[in-house]
Structure formats: C-alpha cells, structure tokens
C-alpha cells in the first residue's frame, strides 16, 4: 500500500515571477532563521506531545498529558473524557486541541458548552493554552476558520443548524456531554448531523440512569463501536442496569473513554478537612420540629413528612410552602410554633464560623427560602453576601462570581447551576443543610476542591442533633467514602446508577424514616 503523494505547487508557480524581478529583499540570516525555527516546532514523530514543551507557562499534570497521548495515539482524536469533577477536563481538552492545532491537523474547531460556561471556556483556553477562540453570540459567523465557542442551545437552533449543514469542523468538543444521552432530543440529533473529523465529549457522569445512555453516547462518537442497537441489546444488556459479558464491555468502553479518578491522580498536597457540627436546637426550634413529627396522620404520606422535617432542619422559611398544604387546624398550630422561633441556631453557627475565619466562604443550601433568609441575616450582621442560583442569566452568574472574588466574602448557592462553577480562590465551604444524595455533596465540594486549588480546603456539615438530618448524616455522609469508592471507577461505572437509583428509591418511596434507614443500611452492607 502506497499513500498518495500530493505536491503543493504554489511556490513553483511564483518562481518565474521571482526569477524575473532582479531584486529580492530577503537576507541570508532570515532564510536560515525561518528554517531553523520551523525545525524546532515540527512534529518529527507520530507519537508524543509537542504542546508541553511549547507552552511552558503551564505545568500539565501527568494524568492530563497521559490522557492527551492516549486520545491522540490510540483513540485517533475521538474520545469521551470522563474524569471526575475537578480534575481539569477543560485543560485536558484544551491540550488535545492545541496538540492537533500545532500538528496542523485542526484549524477549524467548534466547542459547544452550556451557555453559562461559554466565557469561562474562552478564558481558560486563552490563559492556559494560548488558544484565542471566537465566542459566537447573537449573530454567529459559522464561516470563521478558527476555534469558536458557542452555547449548544443557540447552535442547535434551526437557522444555525442549517448554516452548519454543509460545513466541516476539524474538531468538535462538547462539554457536559451527558446532556446527549437521549437520541430523540434535538441536542443529540444536532450533534449527530455535524460534520466533524475529530470529536471530544466531556462529562463527569457518562451514565446517569441506565446502560442505554452509554450506548447512545458512544454511538454518537463512534457509531458501531458497540454494534447496532439490536446487537448491543442482545450481547450486553441484561435488564436496565446491568451488563452481560462485563469484560468485553469494559474493554470496548476503554477504547473510547478515559476516566481519571481523584484518588489516583491527586498528588497535590491539598488536603480536605471535614468537620461535622451537631447543633442543639433552641426550645422553640425543638417544639416546632417535634410538632411536625406528631403530624404523621395529617400528612398524605410519609414522604411529605420526611420532606417537611428536612425543610424544617434548614429553616422555618423553607418549610412554609409545605406547611401551607396542611389541613387547617394543624396548619394554624404549626404556623404559631414557627412564628415563635426568633433565632435560627444554624445561621448563628454559620455566622460564628465566618467570623472566626474571615475569608471567602461558600454556603450551600437546597432551599431558595433559606438562601433569601441567610442573605438578609448576614446583611443585618454587616456581612456582604451574594446569592447564586441556577436560573440566573449567564451575565448575572459571572457578575455574582466576580462580586464574590471581590468585595463579598460570602456566596450563598443553591445546588442548581453550581455545575461548572470554579471557585478555586475559596477554600471554606459550609453545608447549611444536606442533600439526600451523597454524590450531590461531592459535586458541591468539587467547586472548591478542584484542579487549581492551592490551599487545604475546609468543609463543615451542619446538622441538628437528633433530627432526621442527624440520622442522614450518620448514615449517608459518614459512609460517603464507601459510596465514593464504589462510584467513579471505570469498572463500576454502571453500578453507579444502580447505587443512585437505590438511594433515590429509598428516599422517595420509604414509608417511614426507619424504612429509609434500613434500605440505606442494606445498600451500604451490599457495597461493603
């Protein structure tokens, strides 16, 4: 087999003109310099990376350069980058893009991200990889022959998708690619129709619910890698969640997916200190909380009771909307008890933590009502705090983060919208209340304990003594290492859903807190 040889004739075509003109301006030193310099940057091997020696301003971590080499040398530029949260997937993708650009294999690239991350991508590529990308805004120009970043939601709009129909992108990079797990969605079909030579899909959670998601994600990247839908079903699928023939499945998956885990890659000396603070309720808080337990018969099912109790553990404001749904008599009684509460002991504890450690602190709560309450509570005590919510527009989010970087010492965030938030400049995090899913907790912590953090991080869990929260904390979060080690391994990536589904089921379908505890205990035992 002999490869085709093509000659670029442009020099030859100009030669007669050059020969006719009697004068040339160029000097011997410049002639030599152009060649000698070019020789220093050409890729003289198919393998290896040029980028690290050229981008000396950044030290790539070993797992990042290893991932880039694998993608280039073994995966031929089509890969799922599925590192755990906070290990620098963006930099990994930037490194791969840069390498392909330096080798002259990519010049036209398209990066699709959630709208809130567009500017952050542009900044990281510029600062870390010296890639100067065009951010496509309201009037996108898809003919741009360089690197461009767009939000996937605007790019997939019919007029944009049509404009891109006949175009070829040398490389397409998609961030938060777990949004592409359903082939029926517009997102999926749009990406599928893009003409792309190389493609990188980035996600920390390649599977969320079932095995099919992984099949669809891989088939988007490399159709046929897992066979056709039918052959995949008969060969590998065993019910919704498990897999036949695990070994060959894993072997196939490893050919298209790279997953680095924190405990394998963490060589930074950054430590994580977790402190659980159990708080005694005030008399009024206790009365309020106890009254909720007595409601058992008044609420439609145990689930609402559990919800209500958890809300009450955050703040009375968080519980108000659920209380409104109670029958009249109980409602009045509970409302009266709620009104009697004059101080929130958790808020006081939070304030004292911040006062003792006057530095940037992020507070997570699950409830908007608590968020609003805390903001005004801090303001009363002369602390400047900013709120962060998922439904904020991109510009507002950016602005909130800037405020937090600058004058505001406290950021109060709800879960939603915190994905992709990089707060390495902050090293103190308070969990004002606790999510039922320990993975959510890890995502929260990942905001500050991530690639780029240079100091030890301090995490505080707040829980009222002898409440449902206390029991959740004991059960879930003190076993978090168990869950974490089961989750996240490439091997067990499928089991991850199994665990999450169990947790979800335990939480949403248990008739009592006791039942919930038993279910989680069983799960923990099974994992051990």
């Amino acid at each position: 087999m002999k490869p085709q040889i093509t000659f670029d004739h442009s020099w030859e075509q100009q030669l007669p003109d050059w020969l006719r003109s009697s004068h040339t301006v160029s000097s011997w030193p410049l002639f030599k310099l152009a060649i000698e310099t070019k020789l220093r940057i050409i890729p003289d091997e198919f393998h290896g990376l040029l980028t690290p020696s050229l981008l000396t301003s950044i030290d790539f971590l070993p797992h990042q350069t290893a991932a880039a080499r694998t993608v280039m040398e073994e995966m031929n530029g089509t890969a799922i980058l599925a590192d755990e949260v906070g290990l620098g997937k963006t930099i990994e993708a930037g490194l791969i893009l840069k390498e392909y650009m330096l080798r002259g294999l990519v010049s036209r690239a398209l990066i699709l991200t959630p709208a809130s991350l567009v500017n952050q991508w542009a900044k990281e590529l510029r600062e870390k990889c010296q890639i100067y990308a065009l951010v496509q805004k309201k009037k996108p120009d898809w003919t741009w022959n360089g690197v461009q970043i767009a939000s996937i939601d605007s790019a997939k709009q019919a007029k944009n998708a049509e404009a891109m129909e006949g175009m070829i992108f040398d490389m397409v990079i998609i961030d938060e690619a777990h949004r592409l797990k359903n082939p029926a969605t517009l997102n999926y079909q749009f990406v599928r129709r893009l003409n792309k030579t190389y493609c990188l899909l980035l996600t920390a959670t390649p599977v969320q619910n079932n095995v099919d998601e992984l099949f669809h994600l891989v088939s988007l990247l490399k159709p046929g890698h897992f066979g056709s839908s039918d052959s995949f079903n008969s060969r590998f699928k065993n019910g919704k969640r498990s897999i036949h023939d695990q070994d060959s499945f894993k072997a196939l998956l490893q050919k298209v997916m790279i997953r680095n885990r924190r405990d394998e890659t963490d060589q930074s000396p950054v430590k994580r200190f977790v402190e659980t603070i159990r708080i005694t309720q005030t008399k009024e808080e206790k009365a309020f909380y106890e009254a909720l337990i007595q409601l058992k018969d008044a609420v439609p099912n145990a689930m609402t009771l559990l919800t209500l109790q958890r809300e009450a553990c955050s703040s009375k404001y968080a519980a108000l909307s659920t209380i409104q749904k109670l029958p009249g008599q109980e409602r009045e009684e509970i409302t009266r008890l709620a009104e009697a509460i004059t101080a929130n002991s958790k808020a006081e504890e939070t304030l004292s933590i911040i006062k003792n450690h006057p530095e940037k602190t992020i507070i997570f709560t699950q409830y908007r009502a608590t968020q609003r309450y805390l903001e005004s509570y801090f303001r009363e005590h002369g602390l400047m705090a900013v709120s962060f919510q998922g439904n904020f527009k991109k510009g507002k989010k950016d602005w909130m983060v800037e405020l937090f970087k600058g004058p505001a010492n406290v950021l109060i965030a709800t879960e939603a919208g915190s994905e992709g938030l990089n707060l390495q400049f902050c090293r103190r995090l308070i969990n004002f209340d606790l999510p039922w899913n320990p993975m959510k907790l890890e995502q929260r912590i990942g905001r500050i304990h991530r690639f780029g953090q240079e100091q030890d991080v301090h995490i505080y869990h707040l829980a009222y003594e002898q409440t449902v929260e206390d029991r959740m904390l004991t059960l879930l979060h003190e076993k978090i290492h168990l869950f974490q080690s089961a989750i996240g391994k490439l091997d067990d990536i499928l089991d991850q859903n199994w665990i999450e589904e169990h947790l979800h089921d335990a939480f949403h379908h248990s008739k009592s807190i006791r039942e919930w505890e038993i279910k989680v205990h069983n799960l923990a035992a099974a994992l051990e």
Partner: protein
C-alpha cells in the same frame, strides 16, 4: 531569546537593550506595519504623507511578576505572536537570491544552485513532518541533500561582490525544481509505508463497524455517508509536500569541488 534577537536583527530592527529574559527593540516602519496591528495610524500618516514613528517594544520571555506596561508584552515559543513572527520570516524568505562573499583579489567564478526546503508531511491518523533541504547544481545537475548544514557557515549577501562573475545555468531553475521534485517523489516511493498500512487497516475496521451499525438502513443513508467521510478524513494516509523557502544561490567554483 536567541530567536527574537536573530529575528529582529535579520529584520533590521535596532536592539536597544537585552538581558536573559527580555529584549527591547526599535521596530522599523515595515515591522511596525506588519506586527503592531495599527492600520489606522499608518493610513492616517500615509494620507498626510508624513513619516510615521515606529514603536519600540519590549518582549519578555519570562513573567516578571509585575503587570505589563504599554509597549511591553510576553512572547513564548508557540504563542500566536511567535507564529506571527515565524510566518513573517517564512514569507519574507520565500525566495532569495544570494551570492557567496569571497575575500579575493582575483576574479571569482560563481556557479548557480537552486536550493529548496521541502516540508514533507505524513498524514493519517496522526501526523509527522520532516524537512528536506536539497540543492541542485544548475550546471552539472548534481544534487546535494542536507544542503543547509553544508553551507550554513558561508557568508552570503544579496549583492554580487566586485571582481565576481556568474556563469549562466544550463538547467533553468524551473526545470531544476522539477528534477528535485521528481527525485523526492522517487525517494518517498521507496520509503517504508508501514504507518500508512496501519492507518488503512484501522480505517477498514472502523468502516466495517459503521456499516454494521447502519446495516443498510436506507433512511439513515445521509448520516451514514457523513460518518463514512469523517472516517476517511481521519485515517486516509497521504503525503503532502510543500516548499517552505528556496532560492538561487551563487557559490564559487572552488566551493563546488569541496562538497
């Protein structure tokens, strides 16, 4: 650092100061127009028929720890600014005509060479490149490989020194170039193309997987073709050859016999 110094002196820009990590350069008008990105300023000066004032710029190769002031910037190997300078050097030196400078009081007979740098790119599911530095003696047709290292220490200049005279070529530069190209093509044909075979194998495997996935499903024909083309682009082995720079070099007759 040495690149910057060589580059700016080759472009006739005056180097005002330098240390291990920085270099301060007074640009020429031409360099200012080419690099400083201020077309409006130059347009304005041109309209007024006035002479513009080229900038003086300080380049740092290492972070100083202090914010940069006006007319200071960082530059590093592989950065866009670096590539801009390199592209400029390449473009400016696309074609040269240079004469060896002999210290001689006797008449010197100069012979013409066509000297070309070919960039050979091997592309498949990866890419590597090499430079081929070849020259052909336009009188005898003799070819030398690795020519740059043979002549790199010889002084050359754009003008012919007095007492020197040049011989006319028997072979025109255009046909000289054709001969070099033919020669290179033959050499490339003789090379071991294991890399291309490997790529072809991978390509076929991916194509067959793709085929099985779509399984002759007609309605997905368009998607199938898109994916197929992507696989072709990703793996198709091809060798590209282009010319980086080259020119007519006049070397003394004695030099020819010393190679």
């Amino acid at each position: 650092m040495s690149f910057l110094e060589q580059f700016f002196s080759a472009c006739n820009c005056r180097i005002i100061a330098r240390d291990d990590h920085s270099i301060k350069v007074e640009l020429t008008e031409e360099a200012d127009r080419a690099f400083m990105n201020r077309p409006f300023y130059w347009h304005y000066k041109d309209q007024l028929n006035e002479k513009g004032a080229p900038m003086t710029v300080t380049f740092y190769v290492k972070h100083t720890g202090q914010p940069l002031r006006a007319q200071e910037e960082y530059i590093s190997f592989g950065s866009p600014r670096f590539h801009q300078l390199l592209d400029y050097a390449k473009k400016k030196s696309s074609f040269v005509r240079l004469y060896e400078q002999c210290q001689s009081i006797q008449p010197v007979k100069m012979e013409p060479w066509l000297f070309v740098h070919f960039l050979v790119s091997y592309e498949a599911n990866g890419k590597k490149e090499r430079m081929e530095s070849i020259a052909i003696h336009l009188i005898s047709g003799k070819v030398h490989h690795d020519f740059l290292s043979k002549i790199s220490t010889i002084p050359f200049d754009q003008t012919i020194p007095s007492l020197h005279y040049v011989l006319s070529p028997f072979i025109t530069p255009v046909s000289g170039l054709k001969r070099l190209r033919k020669l290179l093509e033959n050499e490339l044909d003789q090379e071991d193309h294991e890399w291309a075979k490997e790529a072809k194998k991978k390509q076929e495997k991916e194509l067959s997987l793709l085929h099985a996935f779509y399984n002759g499903n007609e309605e997905d024909h368009e998607l199938y073709n898109k994916e197929k083309e992507a696989i072709m682009r990703r793996f198709e082995p091809v060798i590209h050859v282009s010319v980086l720079n080259g020119g007519l070099f006049y070397l003394s007759h004695e030099r020819y016999h010393s190679f």
